[in-house]
Structure formats: structure tokens, C-alpha cells
């Protein structure tokens, strides 16, 4: 390789033996660096697999609209669209469906916008209450009181062929844009 004379000069060696040795050392390091990169890249790719998608969202049906009476808020459960066979019951994700009138719906994530605890709907108080730090939300998901800094997360939704569809698939976190 063209590097070897330079090494000999910079190292100040006169005999050919150190020249050859330092070349071997350099070549050895280079080969191992290549091998390391060739190993590290696939391993990193394997580990970072969950990041291959930026957003995990798919349209999923919550069932016929008749399941949700007008002026009521009901719990609905869907199977997360991104799942493995060994997820078990953890793939069963609940959400709150509010049917205002006709095809006018709101679907809220179960997670409180403060720290993610499951909010519960109390029809007589017309409030969602969070069991963790007492955050409350009005029927339309707007923040009513307590530590949450924003409204409940809402799923994008559509009504098609008499069924209610939501775009779902990931646990809401603060950094997600407001739906």
C-alpha cells in the first residue's frame, strides 16, 4: 500500500523490518475497524428497529356506530394494530368514545394528559377523573382542573359504512402533536 513509506518516514525507522511491522499493525487495526463497523451497523439497526417508523398509526374499526348511544360516553376496546402473537392482553387498548349526535363523535385516549394514568368517565358528574393526581376533564375532553396542562388526547376518526374508525396504534406521549 502507498501508506507504508510514509509510516517508515514518520516513525524514523531505517530498517525494512519495523516498516513491515508497522504496516501489519496498521492493516490489522484497519481490518478490525472494518469488521467492527460491519458488526455494529446491523446490531444498531436491529436494536433501533422500533424507530423504523416515526408514527405508528392505522385505521381500525371500533364497531358499528349503533354500539354508541347518542349523548353518551362509553369505553371501547380495540386490539392494537401493531402487535406480536406474544403480546397477550397488553394489546387490548381501551379508549373513551363520546357520541355527540349522529356521526359527530369524539374518541379520547384512556391516558391522562398529565402522566398517562387511565382516566375514568363519571356520567353523573360529566367528568373524566384521573386516579393518580386528580386531573379532571370535561365531557368534550377539555382540561377542567388539576395538573394536566392540556386536553385529553383525541384519536383521528371517521364513520364509514356504519362503523366508527379511529387512527390508532401508539401510546400518546406529551411530544405527540395535538390530534
Amino acid at each position: 500500500m502507498s501508506e507504508s513509506p510514509e509510516i517508515a518516514n514518520s516513525g524514523g525507522g531505517q530498517t525494512p523490518a519495523p516498516n513491515r511491522r508497522s504496516f501489519l499493525l496498521r492493516a490489522g487495526l484497519l481490518i478490525n475497524a472494518l469488521a467492527l463497523a460491519a458488526l455494529a451497523l446491523p446490531i444498531a439497526g436491529y436494536l433501533l428497529a422500533p424507530l423504523r417508523r416515526v408514527v405508528y398509526l392505522k385505521w381500525i374499526s371500533l364497531g358499528p356506530v349503533e354500539n354508541f348511544p347518542e349523548n353518551q360516553t362509553r369505553l371501547a376496546i380495540y386490539k392494537n394494530p401493531f402487535r406480536t402473537p406474544w403480546d397477550g392482553s397488553t394489546a387490548e387498548i381501551p379508549c373513551w368514545v363520546r357520541r355527540i349526535k349522529g356521526d359527530a363523535f369524539q374518541v379520547f385516549a384512556i391516558n391522562c394528559s398529565h402522566l398517562g394514568c387511565p382516566v375514568r368517565w363519571f356520567p353523573s358528574a360529566e367528568l373524566f377523573m384521573c386516579p393518580c393526581h386528580g386531573g379532571t376533564f370535561y365531557a368534550d375532553g377539555e382540561r377542567a382542573s388539576g395538573p394536566p396542562s392540556r386536553a385529553l388526547y383525541q384519536y383521528p376518526l371517521k364513520v364509514e359504512k356504519g362503523e366508527l374508525w379511529v387512527k390508532a396504534g401508539e401510546m400518546p406521549v406529551m411530544t405527540l402533536p395535538k390530534a
Binding site: P50, T90, N111, C117, R120, G134, A144, M171
Partner: protein, 488 residues
């Protein structure tokens, strides 16, 4: 050295000939200062013993536990009820982790108090703090492996906090969860971390920690006025050990042995009496009748999240806490020399007392979390009879509405019910009739407005009931802008 005879002596002689052969320079005998043979120096070795116990019990549990989201919970029940002594191993492992964290903190406090982290033992301290953090990570991931309802929602809270990291929040959470939701991949990540990654790191760091103890020697008891000086400390320490040092085996081990033995016995009794923790409900997120609650070690964090103003949550978790931890790690670099005697280190003392006070009080508050509503109080907690006796129908109607509208979830009556809001026992002495109406309709100060959920007649009834909530000898509050007899 104690005199041995028979087989132990033969084995001892064989070992001695290999480990410190006569004729070669003898540096096998580790000596420590006489002042370090003290009951206040026993926490490190006990920590090590409990760490070994955690390794052994963890290994046993891993033989049966299923690290898969669809069967982990069943395998815990199997361990509890079918696997012979599975309950005991689970109990030992769980209570052992409590003991481990407690002993580590005692060890840390003791090292801090006697200033043992100063030159030349800075790295020993830094390694120790890293060990504490890794152990807390073990506690956190271990709680996840107890894969039940509680650990599921505790994970949600953890990820919700992590998700607030600017810019990379969502991606960070996806990486930690191994996908878009908490599911199989999440548990497997936590399992691998708990049984492979962290134990390897902990064992490595423990080896380093012990090697440093061996190389640097155990610090002598601090004396007021004897300052640590980089130029003279090593020589004076060596001189002290040579003058009046004692061999580690057996002189330095007696108190450690007794303490560690008692700790292990106490742990066995605790585990046998109290049994394993959980699992509680199945890890099914669609069962929302739950109240997440972290394990003991993180109650302080829960308390701070519940008590700090909401806008301080994120800065505290993502900025203040890391800075405090960095300060703890870097402490020996900040003050590596000087006085070691605690009464002559006023700043250190103030910091230590403050941090410990905050930790203890918040942990204590965390055990009964007054910031959480009592979600079943409205339907499950009776109205005290005294509050209903001799009341008008309107007032009784109000009392019923206080239950039916879930007011009781946040407001206690006679000590039972939620503690999120003020108790209603003496409300009438604090708010006038008009103020009560305004507060109910508009809310404010952590209370939602009930304007839409209550009809005017219902508000009348509730206010009528609340106006009776004053001690018999103390009249209800009235507006100072009006004559007292106008009734507020």
C-alpha cells in the same frame, strides 16, 4: 489468626503456601486501621452479602419465570402457588431488594458522614454511586417483571415522563418500549436489562469497588482538625496502618460477619412472614379500575410529581434530578481534600440533612398519597350519620348529591373520602353561601366547574347541605359586606 486443626488446617496451609509463599515478599495480608474496626463500618459488607443473595434468588426465579407478556403473569402465580417454595424465593428476592437499597443508602450516608470519599478514594465513591443508580434501575426493571396491572401503569407513567424529553421524546419512548405501545417487546427489553445487562454492569463495578478498597485501604475514623492533604495523606495513612493496623482476616471481619448474618436472618424472617409482593391484577390495560403506585424506592418521586406544581414536573424530572445526581457523583471532585469530621463540614451537613428530610417525608407521604382522589368513595363510603340527623329533606338531598356527583372522591367527610381537596367538615365556616355557589359552578383551585353537570335545584340542595357543615358552637361564615343577620 485463630488456631485451626485437622482438615481446615491442612486446607489452610495448602492455600497459604500458594497464595503467599514464604520467601517471596508478603503482601497478601490486608490490614486496616484499628479505628476502622467499628460498628459504623459494617454496611458495605452487608450490602455485598445481600447483593449475592439477590443474584442467587434471581437465578432461581429465572428458571421458572416466563419473560413473555402473554404468560409472565401466569408464571408468577405458578411461582406463588404451585412451584414448591416459589413464594419464598419470590419473597426473598423482593424483600432482599428492599434491604439492598436500604443498606446501600446507609452505607452511602456513613461514607458521607465520615468523609471517606475524599482523596484518594474519589473513584470508590463514584463507583459506589453508579452502583446505587444501577441498583435502582434493577428495582425499576424488577418491578416491571412483576408484570401486573400496577407495573403496567407504572410503566405508562415512566414513559409519559420520558416522552417529555424535548425533540426526541416520542422516539425515545418507542425505543424504550420496543414498539408503539407497552407490550411483549417492552417486557423482553426490561427482562434482558434486568437479568443480563445490569447484573453484568453491577458485578463489574462491584469488583472495581472492592479492588479499590483493597488497593487504597479502608479509611480511618475521622478526627477533628486532621485535614486530608494530597501530599501527606498517603504517607500518614501508611504509617498509621503499619503502626497499629489490624489484619482483615479475622480481626476486621468479626463485626461485619455478625451484622451481615443478622441482616440475612432478618431478611429471611421478613420474607417468610410477609411473603412475596403481588402479582395483583392481570396486565390488561382495558381493566381501568386501577391506581398505579410505585414500589417503595420511588414513592418520593411519585410524591414530588403529585405535590410539585404541574409546570415544574418536567423541569424537575429532566433537569433538576439529573443535576442533583451529577452533583452526588461529582461530590468527591468538588471537595477532595480538607476536613473529614462531620461537625466541621457545615455545608455538607445541611445538604445531607435537607436531602434526607425531603426523601423521608416524601416517601412517607407517598405511602398514603393524599394527592390522589379516592375513586370509590362516592359509591362505597357511607355518609356519617351525625351529618344527616335532624336535617331537612333539602339538606339530605344535598348530601346524597355530594355522593352521586363524586364530590366525595376528592373531599373527605369526617376523615373518610379523598384528600385531594379540602375536607367538607367545616366548609360553612370558610365559605359564604354565595362563595359556595360560585365555587361549585365555576370550580377553580384544582376543582372542576360543575356548572354543566348540576341543575339549579341540585346546586341549591348541595349548598343547603354544605351550609350545615359547621361546628355547633361556630356560626357559618357570612359576607362582611352585609349585616350578619342577612345570612351571607
Amino acid at each position: 489468626m485463630a488456631k485451626l486443626s485437622g482438615w481446615p488446617r491442612i486446607i489452610g496451609d495448602w492455600l497459604r503456601l500458594r497464595l503467599s509463599p514464604p520467601g517471596l515478599p508478603d503482601n497478601s495480608e490486608f490490614k486496616l486501621p484499628r479505628s476502622a474496626i467499628s460498628w459504623s463500618y459494617v454496611f458495605g459488607s452487608a450490602t455485598f452479602v445481600v447483593l449475592l443473595l439477590e443474584l442467587v434468588t434471581g437465578l432461581c426465579l429465572a428458571l421458572v419465570y416466563q419473560p413473555s407478556a402473554d404468560s409472565a403473569w401466569q408464571s408468577l402465580l405458578y411461582l406463588n402457588y404451585q412451584q414448591p417454595l416459589g413464594w419464598f424465593l419470590r419473597a426473598l428476592h423482593y424483600w432482599g431488594s428492599n434491604f439492598l437499597v436500604a443498606l446501600m443508602i446507609l452505607h452511602l450516608v456513613q461514607v458521607f458522614v465520615i468523609g471517606a470519599y475524599k482523596f484518594p478514594r474519589e473513584l470508590t465513591w463514584i463507583g459506589g454511586i453508579l452502583l446505587l443508580l444501577l441498583t435502582l434501575a434493577m428495582a425499576l426493571t424488577g418491578e416491571v417483571l412483576r408484570f401486573d396491572q400496577e407495573s403496567y401503569w407504572d410503566l405508562v407513567i415512566g414513559f409519559a415522563l420520558a416522552g417529555r424529553t424535548p425533540l426526541i421524546g416520542a422516539r425515545l419512548v418507542h425505543f424504550l418500549m420496543g414498539g408503539p405501545i407497552i407490550a411483549g417487546a417492552t417486557l423482553e427489553r426490561m427482562y434482558t436489562t434486568h437479568v443480563l445487562l445490569l447484573p453484568a454492569a453491577i458485578l463489574g463495578l462491584t469488583g472495581l469497588h472492592l479492588l479499590l478498597v483493597y488497593k487504597l485501604g479502608i479509611s480511618e475514623w475521622p478526627m477533628p482538625g486532621r485535614l486530608v492533604n494530597r501530599d501527606t495523606y498517603l504517607a500518614s495513612y501508611r504509617a498509621e496502618v503499619e503502626r497499629e493496623g489490624e489484619p482483615l482476616i479475622p480481626n476486621g471481619l468479626r463485626k461485619d460477619l455478625i451484622f451481615a448474618g443478622l441482616i440475612v436472618l432478618a431478611l429471611i424472617v421478613t420474607a417468610a412472614v410477609l411473603g412475596p409482593k403481588g402479582p395483583n391484577g392481570a396486565p390488561n390495560p382495558s381493566i381501568i379500575q386501577t391506581r398505579p403506585h410505585p414500589d417503595f424506592y420511588f414513592l418520593w418521586m411519585e410524591a414530588l410529581m403529585g405535590l410539585l406544581p404541574a409546570w415544574l414536573d418536567t423541569p424537575f424530572a429532566l433537569i433538576v434530578l439529573p443535576i442533583l445526581l451529577l452533583g452526588l457523583i461529582a461530590m468527591p471532585l468538588i471537595s477532595p481534600t480538607g476536613e473529614r469530621y462531620i461537625l466541621r463540614r457545615p455545608l455538607s451537613m445541611v445538604i445531607a440533612v435537607t436531602v434526607l428530610t425531603v426523601l423521608v417525608t416524601t416517601t412517607w407521604l407517598g405511602t398514603y398519597d393524599p394527592w390522589s382522589p379516592d375513586m370509590n368513595a362516592w359509591s362505597g363510603t357511607p355518609i356519617p350519620a351525625a351529618y344527616l340527623k335532624g336535617r331537612t329533606p333539602l339538606e339530605i338531598q344535598g348530601a346524597i348529591l355530594i355522593q352521586a356527583k363524586q364530590c366525595r372522591n376528592c373531599h373527605a367527610l369526617d376523615g373518610s373520602g379523598g384528600m385531594r381537596g379540602p375536607s367538607l367538615d367545616t366548609t360553612a365556616t370558610r365559605l359564604t353561601r354565595n362563595e359556595l355557589i360560585r365555587q361549585i359552578l365555576q370550580g377553580g383551585g384544582n376543582m372542576p366547574g360543575y356548572g354543566k353537570a348540576l341543575k339549579p335545584a341540585e346546586v341549591d340542595a348541595i349548598v343547603a347541605f354544605l351550609m350545615t357543615m359547621h361546628p355547633a358552637n361556630e356560626p357559618p361564615a357570612h359576607s362582611s359586606a352585609r349585616p350578619a343577620d342577612a345570612g351571607g
